[in-house]
Subunit: 203 residues, 2 copies
Amino acid sequence: MRSKGQLIVISGPSGAGKGTVCEALLKKNDFWISVSATTRSPRNAEIEGINYYFISREEFLERIKSKDFLEYAEVYGNCYGTPKSEVLKVLESGRDVILEIDIQGALKVKLAYPNGLFIFILPPSMEELRNRITNRGSETPESLMTRFASAHEEISFVSKYDYAVVNDTVDSACEKIQSIVIAERCRVDRMNGDFLKEEIINE
Amino acid sequence: MRSKGQLIVISGPSGAGKGTVCEALLKKNDFWISVSATTRSPRNAEIEGINYYFISREEFLERIKSKDFLEYAEVYGNCYGTPKSEVLKVLESGRDVILEIDIQGALKVKLAYPNGLFIFILPPSMEELRNRITNRGSETPESLMTRFASAHEEISFVSKYDYAVVNDTVDSACEKIQSIVIAERCRVDRMNGDFLKEEIINE
């Protein structure tokens, strides 16, 4: 039997709905979601320790120095990082871990953990993506344009991922991700040789 | 959009429960199952055109000559073959096709169609496998021993497959296979470049 959980990286362009999909996944599954540290200010309903650990730029730089991040990146002038020891501890316990991170971060995690499960969330259309970013209401016209242009470019990174899931409805996106997680557990190249010995040759 | 269905190859040792799993899959999904041609005699409840096309050895050899099989093999002195044109027609129409075949056949299909989805059905244990083969009641003591020894050896071929599904219960095996099919549709390396253009860049 595999003793380790799966690292499930949920990523994609800004506005594709990563956050909503992850929330729904957590309600239905025993996944553990990694909470990132960030130097940006909290948005309206965001809670410290639930959505992010909100820390100062000084503390962030200090933790980079002490190699305390699985990955970190600067996006739109703010720093985001994934605390390393938390994630590794949960994976080691056998529980699956979700990382909801931007594309820069995901590609860095992929270099360090190529066995992770890299899922790219796609918006159903570019028009829908524009609507979602606009309706978020937390953006200035300038940051809106920056985000939208960036999202357009980011979608081209889908080719670096294992799976692409179109977020047409949250339920269908969740169902697909759950299927991906189940399927990956059945992949022969993820099973170690002991699987056969323990499970089958037990007569 | 992908115009072609997926070729789902369900294989594994004799007695692992391939047939029962495929029956259950067909009840719940719009899969099309390929009916093999064979030179062996029908077992009790088997129906011509549903379980197999029962044909003579002469006809079988004739159809080999005219390259009318996707794969064929001789197992325990009987010939089995998968009619080629049927399968290709259904795949081309966009419907997923199940091939329930022995390991020799599956490995030949893999050479011809490496993009197929190769799923190996494992019995929950070797003891359970022995019980299943014994309880089938259609075997002589000699053919029983042959089948069991062969099943033991066949299990080592799991490494040639993409996925391994333990058939502990039919429902759980079906659920895993359905997840595998859904997950494979989301694999980035199975999507062609047009996917993004048609689905996303449609503003």
